[in-house]
Amino acid sequence: MDRHAFLNRDFISGLIWAVIGLVFCAGAIHYGVILNGGPGPGLVPIIAGVILTALGLVIIITPFLPGKSRVEATENFFPEEGSFKRVFYATLGLFVYILLFEFLGFFITTLVVTIFMLRLIEPMKWSIVLGSALLIAVSFHLVFRTVLKLPFPRGYFGI
């Protein structure tokens, strides 16, 4: 048995989905599949959970069946040098946004995080970064706060 099969994306993803299905099945049994002689709150979760688990096992087991070959991923998970960094910084930027949003307020948070993303993900000149970030933050402020009057937080600095 090729041990690399275990690192195959289908194996890992199938396993994760199968476990998720099992967890929901356990919950479904707890809530009651049949209640007072009729269908209970656990009916649909157990149907869906069984389907998810069973098909997850199919995904896991299929490459090991006789006559079946493991489907190789056509490229690495991160296809280029720098891919992981770009995706990581983008995701980090999103989390930083929600962490700062209520503290710094909508305008400053938008400005700061836009600068972060423009500078770190595909670096550009500081003049372009700062100019674009300011334009974006001001435009969003005008459209969403001034025109649409959405109640975004002003934060500690009241902006």
């Binding site: 998810l52 891919s83 550009m124 649409l148």
Partner: protein, 504 residues
């Protein structure tokens, strides 16, 4: 006679100034979204959904619908000029549209696409007017078994017709049903999978999930690779009016694409891409010169473009009459309806006829607006394409963040969106489709309510689904759909076995 009066009513409602304005904004934004690669109609509609909160339900749905069929038009421009489809549905147009551009006939390609799309859109609207009311009347007679069987059929077809592995698609449909179970059980009031959280008691919102799966995940996939400068093919985009010969060559494909596209658009999981693919294959098969396809045949542009726009119109029929979304965009529109406290379905015509006819009327007007917008403004759309993606992607993220916050003024929704963005990214890498998950999330409550009512009616026997004629028909089609891949594989093996036997 009644159809005519409905037509006048629909035009009257659509021509109200604010509805007209909402339609214009929708088709304009839709065309813009269609032109820009990397941002699909699903993401755009979910991003702009919060902006519609201040509008009336008519204006909201008209605007969002306009975005949807507007993207069909916009995606054509990049397909023809850049060989990059702005939308998935415009992929087929690249095959002959781009070669036409290289031959200096971009104008003809763009022109016939625009006119064909307008014809298709108008046909779809007429069909909606003709078939909508009778279908809604039939659907009013559906009971729980019919509704349960219909949702099972819908989910099965979405899994079957989607791209990639059907096994993975069915898994995602199951995952969507499970996500829909988080929160309060509608029938017993039991808290399910809430982990004692007040937030989870309300369930997980559809809009942050869609923004995450289709907005954030799409951007994360795109920024993995350094985006090069887009080279726009310099070609003649003047002379947009097709010649007599162009019309003669395109008339048949437009007619066939219109009819086929509309009916394929109704099928759950069908939609624009399937419609344009089928149209292309059919036109190539029946053409006297099939060798010309792929080298700049105008039939290869006219047919698919018409089909995908007819499909976009057809997709509204099951939504407005049965309450069944047949693709992800329609699923998001269900969310938009529910935000305004309206359940799309057979009662829509009865309780909100102005909404139904207003949407239909606005589609007439929207198609005309799109024809006017797309032809003269092509040079503007081309300039917009020059905006580098490294400037665009933070904008998309910000729209997602702002949009998700404004749903309930809550950081929670932003967090849900980011989480599903990461999950969606991982799903794309491991080739699990997102569409069945969203469809199941939307159809899940309807499915659960109807299946539980069905089992109460039948004292627990699921065979009732097969004893009533309509639900039996739906179930048979669903079962055939599920077993057809195995059946086809078995037939293939038999054929290979017989062939080897013959060769021996």
């Amino acid at each position: 006679m009644e159809t005519l009066s409905h037509l006048f009513l629909s035009i009257q409602i659509a021509m109200e100034p604010m509805n007209l304005f909402a339609c214009f904004i929708g088709v304009f934004v839709g065309t813009l979204v269609g032109v820009l690669p990397g941002l699909g109609s699903t993401a755009a509609i979910s991003l702009l959904l919060p902006i519609t909160f201040g509008l009336s339900v008519n204006q909201s749905i008209i605007m969002l619908a306009g975005i949807y069929y507007g993207t069909m038009y916009g995606g054509t421009t990049t397909s023809i000029l850049l060989n990059i489809p702005g939308e998935d549905v415009a992929m087929i147009t690249c095959l002959d549209g781009y070669p036409m551009a290289k031959q200096g006939r971009a104008g003809a390609a763009l022109g016939i696409s625009a006119f064909g799309s307008c014809i298709a859109g108008t046909f779809a609207v007429i069909m909606l007017m003709v078939f909508g009311p009778p279908l809604a009347a039939v659907a009013l007679r559906f009971g729980p078994p019919e509704n349960a069987a219909l949702t099972i059929l819908g989910l099965t077809l979405v899994s079957y017709l989607g791209s990639g592995s059907m096994t993975k698609a069915l898994m995602m449909a199951a995952a969507g049903l499970l996500l829909g179970c988080i929160g309060l059980d509608l029938m017993e009031g039991t808290e399910r999978y809430t982990l004692n959280s007040l937030r989870l008691r309300e369930g997980i919102g559809l809009v942050p999930i869609v923004m995450g799966l289709f907005g954030v995940a799409e951007v994360l996939i795109t920024i993995e690779r350094v985006q090069g400068k887009i080279e726009i093919f310099k070609t003649n985009t003047k002379n947009l009016l097709p010649t007599k010969q162009d019309w003669k060559d395109s008339a048949g494909p437009i007619a066939r694409g219109t009819v086929a596209g509309f009916f394929l658009g109704i099928i759950p999981g069908g939609g624009g891409f399937l419609a344009s693919l089928v149209s292309y294959v059919v036109e190539k098969k029946i053409s006297k010169h099939p060798e010309k396809f792929g080298t700049g045949a105008i039939e290869g542009v006219a047919g698919p473009e018409t089909a995908n726009n007819a499909g976009a119109g057809g997709a509204f029929l099951p939504l407005l009459t049965l309450g069944i979304p047949c693709n992800v965009v329609m699923a998001v529109l269900v969310g938009a309806f529910m935000i305004h406290g309206i359940n799309p379905g057979p009662l829509l015509l009865v309780e909100h006829p102005d909404l139904f006819w207003g949407i239909v009327g606005s589609m007439y007007i929207g198609n005309v607006m799109l024809l006017i917008l797309n032809l003269p403004l092509i040079s503007i759309w081309v300039k917009i394409l020059k905006i580098p993606y490294k400037i665009l992607f933070p904008l998309i993220f910000l729209f997602c963040l702002v949009g998700s916050f404004s749903l309930n003024n809550s950081i929670w929704d932003m967090g849900v969106m980011i989480l599903f963005g990461i999950i969606g990214y991982w799903m794309k890498k491991t080739e699990y489709p997102s569409a069945p998950l969203v469809m199941a999330l939307v159809l899940g409550p309807m499915f659960e309510t109807s299946i539980r009512q069905t089992l109460v009616m039948s004292s627990g026997s699921p065979l009732i689904l097969f004893t009533r004629p309509l639900s039996c028909a739906f179930m048979v089609v669903a079962i055939l759909t599920l077993i057809s891949p195995l059946f086809l594989k078995w037939i293939g093996k038999q054929r290979i076995g017989m062939k080897m036997k013959y060769e021996d």
